[in-house]
């Protein structure tokens, strides 16, 4: 099997999975309980929090665990918008993940004003547009750090600079950036940052939100005292431990492994462009999370390619995983100006830690033939 859909989800690193199994058996205590089996769990959670904080250059008290990257995004946006009822404007971009876009739509239904910043053909947001969009009523700007479909890295530092002049808070969805490009919250200057474990070889159903110390925010999930009163609910303890482990592992592996993955991605990109005619690469050459490759195979239906690849045990995706169920064209691809028929011909190949040279070779030997065959059938 060749798994090239690492932006949708990643395989769990074996060490992470082992740690979770151990934890489930040995540590069932509720971290809110005061006796030893509860306190031990609390200590392990604190260690995981420390690890995540270190990776972000943050303080431990600024890290909050959630149930997914989606929850982190919802928490950040609703949490800030509800904490500042006197400000009713929210700014985001047109290529955000649905976790941000749909949250914005719900806010709009409840009477808030939403502005979507447009992007250029590479997916980079229009900073001039942003400058003009900010008003004294703007409470929050949320711009993703790296896009899940294109890999485009957004100019977050510049966004922060613009926002700070007007004293507006900035959130970034770093779900696709964390573990792949530097995410130091102080260098970026953001006030809030979302991440998700299953994109970094950890389990599904666990995420985290960084909240800069002193930021006024209300909880999304109310109840008990967990997570410093900001995210109630008995913690997904095994998930938290696993997230900590996953972060520790990518920290230890460092740049070397990322460089290896980038090399593979470059080889795959070049190979596809050389071997297949009439293919368009979407997204920028530079300022991209290199492991993300988006190609449009003009005149074709991406679904047909995907199924043909799947029959060869090569797994890729046509859009973001989250919109897979829907028939609509990807909002990201239409935002960068692709016509619907071009968007529908688009495949995303996303590489990860467990890919190797053979995987790339296999795709390069199968894909051109598949494309040629399908094009012949449809008479193109």
């Amino acid at each position: 099997m060749v798994y090239l859909d690492n932006n949708a989800t990643t395989p769990i690193e074996p060490a992470v999975s082992e740690k979770m199994c151990w934890f489930l058996r040995e540590h069932f205590g509720n971290p809110s309980s005061l006796y030893p089996i509860g306190r031990e769990v609390k200590k392990l959670i604190t260690e995981a929090r420390e690890t995540v904080a270190d990776a972000l250059g943050a303080m431990r008290s600024e890290i909050f665990f959630t149930g997914s990257g989606t929850e982190s995004d919802n928490f950040a946006i609703y949490g800030i918008m509800n904490a500042f009822p006197e400000k009713n404007e929210f700014i985001t971009s047109s290529i955000e993940h649905p976790a941000v876009i749909e949250t914005a739509s719900y806010l709009e239904k409840r009477g808030k004003k939403i502005t979507f910043i447009p992007v250029d053909q590479y997916g980079n947001i229009d900073l001039e547009f942003l400058k003009k969009a900010i008003s004294p009523k703007t409470a929050l700007i949320s711009i993703m750090y790296s896009n899940n479909e294109l890999g485009t890295i957004e100019p977050i530092k510049e966004v922060v600079k613009i926002a700070k002049e007007k004293e507006v808070l900035v959130h970034t969805d770093a779900v696709q950036a964390f573990g792949k490009i530097p995410c130091n919250v102080n260098k970026l200057g953001v006030d809030l940052l979302s991440l998700s474990a299953h994109k970094i070889y950890g389990p599904k159903g666990i995420g985290s939100l960084y909240i800069r110390k002193g930021t006024k925010i209300l909880p999304l999930i109310c109840g008990g005292h967990q997570e410093r009163n900001l995210r109630a609910g008995t913690e997904n303890t095994a998930g938290i431990i696993a997230l900590g482990e996953a972060v520790q592992i990518f920290q230890a592996k460092g740049d070397k492994d990322l460089k290896r993955i980038h090399k593979l991605a470059d080889r795959l990109k070049k190979g596809i462009e050389e071997r297949i005619p009439r293919v368009i690469f979407n997204g920028p050459e530079k300022n991209r999370v290199k492991s993300t490759l988006s190609f449009s195979f003009t005149g074709m239906e991406a679904d047909a390619i995907l199924l043909a690849l799947a029959s060869k045990e090569i797994y890729v995706s046509t859009g973001s995983a989250c919109s897979e169920d829907s028939e609509e064209v990807s909002h990201v691809l239409s935002s960068i100006g692709l016509k619907p028929e071009v968007a529908r011909s688009t495949l995303r190949l996303s590489l990860g830690r467990f890919n190797n040279d053979e995987d790339v070779s296999k795709v390069l030997s199968e894909l051109p033939e598949i494309i040629e065959k399908l094009r012949k059938i449809s008479g193109l």
Binding site: S32, E102, S326
Partner: protein
């Protein structure tokens, strides 16, 4: 941990080995994202749907009425806030009780800031809500009633069937927090006639960080989490697949075993209750004499503090609690006991023992042996000891 006497099952339960076993593959090879369309992903999706059926079966519901969440707390937030916002045009009044879990209470407080009006019904000395008081509280602006099925601290089982009936007659949505009863009492959503019902995996031998909300077909409710199309557009976010699979297995086991287990646990609980009453003076039981969860024993031991007793029990390898787990980090007296009319002083002397599947007579006898001398010692040192 092997010789620990664990008597805090209302706080959390150990994960059943059978549950761990079915979760393991989803930590490893079966990592597909259920939203993707290839085979690997289909496996995850199928496992999720099987789990949904198992949970539905336990509640006698349809599987498309079950939405998975990240905790019992999230289920409560979703139910209360979601129903409130979706029905705001109809009215802005909510009725709940003063002994709810903080997941419901604080959701209501949050809604008050958003312009909703909340009535908090009182309870009698056993912790039961008064149905007449409920009827009186209803107005034509009432859109939601949320009353827990059984209370986590004292175990009192509320008359939810009657409450549901009243709700239905008045065209009001009814939510019940059944986190403490699912897996312990027989539950049929049609029999109870509820519209919304919350549950949590870790209270019945499943993993932490996964829960579910039953939503009766046709119920008007807004989502709490927005984003992708997960859970039929009702709860966005990539699903905690191992957690969901574990919850499903826990539900399957509970459906088979809860009634026998209930009989066993009740016997042990009664043994503990009688044993302590016999050996310690000036004690009384909190909660209803019969309408009570089979494994819950909340006992007030006068003139001393619960915290002190817990510390000594802990030294003897016994884990119990003095309030609900969620408030144990705080030093406030339990809002449940205060609502039942106890003074702060007496409420501080309460202990909660909550029994479960794996407890034995030896466990119980150890507590009956160990606790009385602890009480005696603490009472000797206590400044408030009645002479």
């Amino acid at each position: 941990m092997d010789n620990l006497v664990y008597l805090d099952h209302n706080a959390t339960t150990p994960v059943d080995e059978r549950v761990i076993k079915v979760m393991l593959p989803y930590f490893g090879k079966k990592y597909g994202n259920p939203s993707s369309i290839y085979k690997l992903a289909n496996e995850s999706d199928k496992a999720k749907e099987e789990a949904r059926e198992k949970v539905a079966k336990l509640l006698h519901a349809n599987s498309n009425e079950i939405v998975f969440t990240g905790s019992g707390t999230e289920s409560d937030n979703y139910a209360v806030k979601g129903a409130a916002f979706a029905n705001r045009k109809k009215g802005n009044r909510i009725i709940t009780s003063s002994i709810e879990h903080h997941a419901v209470l604080n959701s209501c407080k949050w809604l008050e800031k958003q312009g909703f009006k909340v009535t908090y019904l009182g309870v009698d000395k056993h912790g039961l809500v008064n149905l007449d008081e409920l009827r009186d509280a209803i107005t034509d602006k009432t859109i939601l009633i949320s009353i827990m099925h059984a209370n986590n601290e004292v175990g009192t089982i509320e008359p939810v069937k009657e409450i549901a009936e009243i709700s239905r007659q008045n065209g009001i949505l009814f939510h019940t927090d059944a986190v403490q009863t699912v897996g312990k009492l027989p539950i049929g959503v049609d029999d109870l006639s509820v519209d919304l019902l919350s549950l949590s995996g870790h209270k019945f031998y499943g993993p932490k960080g996964v829960g579910a909300l039953y939503i009766r077909k046709g119920t008007r409710i807004d989502s709490l989490l927005h984003g992708g199309h997960h859970e039929s557009n009702r709860r966005a976010g990539t699903e905690n697949i191992p957690g969901i699979v574990g919850l499903g297995k826990a539900a399957e086991i509970a459906a088979k075993e809860f009634s026998e287990e209930g009989i066993k646990v009740r016997k042990l609980r009664d043994r503990l209750e009688n044993g302590l009453i016999k050996k310690i003076d000036d004690v009384f039981i909190n909660g209803h004499p019969d309408k009570r969860l089979p494994g819950t024993l909340n006992i007030c031991i006068k003139y001393i503090e619960g915290e002190g007793m817990l510390l000594h029990l802990d030294h003897n390898g016994i884990a119990a609690s003095s309030g609900s787990a969620c408030t144990s980090a705080s030093l406030q007296a339990s809002h449940v006991l205060i609502s039942m009319g106890l003074s702060h002083e007496v409420a501080h002397g309460s202990l909660r023992f909550s029994l479960g599947r794996n407890n034995t007579e030896q466990d119980i006898d150890k507590v009956i042996e160990v606790l009385p001398p602890i009480v005696e010692k603490l009472r000797e040192m206590s400044p408030i000891k009645k002479r």
